[in-house]
Amino acid sequence: MIARKSKDDRIFDSVNIILLVLILIIVLYPLYFIIIASFSDPLEVLAGKVFLLPKKINVEAYKMVFRDESIVTGYRNTILYTILGTAINIVMTILAAYPLSRKDFVGRGFFTLMMAITMFFSGGLIPTYLLISNTLHMQDTIWAMVLPGAVSVWNTVIMRTYFQTSIPEGLHEAAVVDGCSSTKLLLKIVLPLSKPVIAVLVLFYGVGHWNSFFNALIYLSDKDKYPLQLILRSILIQNTMSEDMMTDVDSLANRKVLAETIKYALIVVASAPIIMIYPFLQKYFVKGVMVGAIKG
């Protein structure tokens, strides 16, 4: 069918595009402002002279951010928690999703129910806290960061659905007839065919670890183990500035001015890794949400 554009159609299209451009600006401007403010002279930012372009471009704020011991340590800790946590997540999710995707797995219903119940009922904050800190003694250990959320039921559903829909049933039968074991089948056939869904879940879990701060807040008291998000909280929200940053800034007024603009640079430094890789992986994210939506 050839689409004929009537006058009404053209008006509709123009209004639609204008509104979307407006939405685009509303979403983009705050992000853009953070970036230009981080490269501008602090005084210009505070005076409200930075609007569309950075003024008196410099990278002082970034230098100060990287001079701070706690930020560097926090960054390192976050990378460590993200890598270890995501690795555990992926292995556990595969171990949960693969058996559940097999129709000949006796007990499938039981295990599915057991996992689904936890989506609606939970012990709540205090019982979980008592378990992890008093019973398991995980306080101030990396395990408190990576174990409590080791399997997400939602992500398991996404992976199981992928296994069921993308890997032909006949493949299992053929493999069983050939005397291929389940482990071998998983490692040699299923996983190599499942790279897209694994990529999606690496990203979902990875972003979760990178951004998480609640578990660190309640289970960590040792400052050397703090992840980046807790350091960010103390600087962005609680306005604490470490001495490391301010060694060669003399007057109190100067310090206050710098303290404000360091925040912009810090936001950029903390969010850059995710915001930068995200557009390249966008198609995977979207696919992940949709696979989950079909079944969920």
Partner: protein, 317 residues
């Protein structure tokens, strides 16, 4: 003769009984695979559920969960009669209803608008940009809010001054808290929320539109009569899920944006549970508050599910 029949019957029964066992033993590796997952759920999900009983006890660390003396519903009564009960329940409900009213329709409208865009590159651009804020951490989000709304120096107040208005200290005036919370939430998650509706829109039969065009239906009419009904089941399911967590205002953003001056407008159940539980160490009382919250949530989920089931055929379970 009878004996052979019996024997044969027994043999088939055996074979039958062995069938399930055979499937289990043949797939022993699958059980080995799921074992760590099973243990994980027992330890990190079901053991805390067992711990809920301390809501009805006076928990003492020395006596443990099992050994602590029973207290009945004392903690619940104390919570209901407490000074903060009305305030935090009101804050929790009003923040989430406000979020739902403003935040729920936006992704739907955005998806309907995006669906009408014919230029693929422009569509992709809008999608990429609007999804991006979803990946910003709550801490950074709260930090951005504080920076933008800072008195005198923040961008927002700069703009107000530019138009000749007074600078406002938004974070110190409680009445702005809920709006700040809700609008920043829309900014952050509306794009991401539209994905699910876009995928539902992609599933609508193009023939419906072709037929409507022949009948002379305008774009708006087609959106109203074809696209919107087409994604209604998805909308219902999302609505049920949202209502199920209506009493579940997320801890993190409130916690980060709250200060002593806006506390009375900001404190919600989850931050209160954190405060009395982990700061004041009133474990039993705090667990009781948390349990009250989850029970209300579950009742809401069931109610909304039943209502939508009656209204149309889509429901969660």
């Amino acid at each position: 003769m009878l004996k052979t029949a019996e024997l044969r019957q027994q043999r088939t029964r055996n074979r039958h009984g062995n069938f399930a066992w055979h499937r289990i033993s043949r797939n022993w590796e699958l059980y080995l695979m799921i074992l760590p997952v099973f243990l994980f759920f027992i330890v990190f999900h079901y053991v805390p559920m067992y711990g809920i009983q301390i809501a009805f006890k006076n928990f003492s660390g020395v006596l443990g969960i099992w050994g602590s003396p029973w207290a009945g519903v004392e903690h619940f009564i104390r919570f209901f009669n407490g000074t903060y009960f009305k305030e935090i329940v009101w804050n929790t409900i009003s923040i989430s209803v406000y979020s739902l009213l403003v935040g729920f329709p936006v992704p739907i409208i955005l998806a309907l608008m995006l669906n009408e865009v014919r230029n693929k590159h422009f569509k992709k651009l809008v999608q990429t940009v609007t999804y991006a804020p979803y990946f910003i951490s709550v801490v950074v989000m709260a930090g951005m809010i504080l920076l933008f709304l800072a008195p005198e120096t923040g961008v927002f107040n700069q703009m107000r001054k530019f138009f000749g208005a007074e600078s406002i200290n938004f974070m110190y005036e409680g009445r702005y808290f809920k709006t700040i919370y809700v609008l920043s939430g829309v900014w952050q998650s509306a794009g991401w929320g539209s994905i699910i509706y876009l995928s539902a829109l992609a599933g609508i039969d193009p023939e419906l539109h072709e037929a409507a065009v022949i009948d002379g239906a305008s774009r708006l009419r087609r959106i109203w009569h074809i696209n919107l009904p087409g994604i209604l089941p998805t909308i219902c399911i999302m609505l049920i899920m949202n209502c199920g967590s209506l009493m579940n205002v997320g801890f993190e953003k409130v916690f980060l944006l709250m200060n002593d001056l806006n506390r009375s407008h900001a404190e919600v159940i989850s931050t209160y549970v954190y405060k009395v539980g982990l700061i004041n160490r009133e474990y039993s009382f705090s667990t009781a508050v948390g349990l009250f919250n989850s029970v209300i949530n579950f009742i809401m989920l069931l109610t909304v599910n039943t209502i939508t089931k009656k209204l149309n055929q889509s429901s969660l379970f």
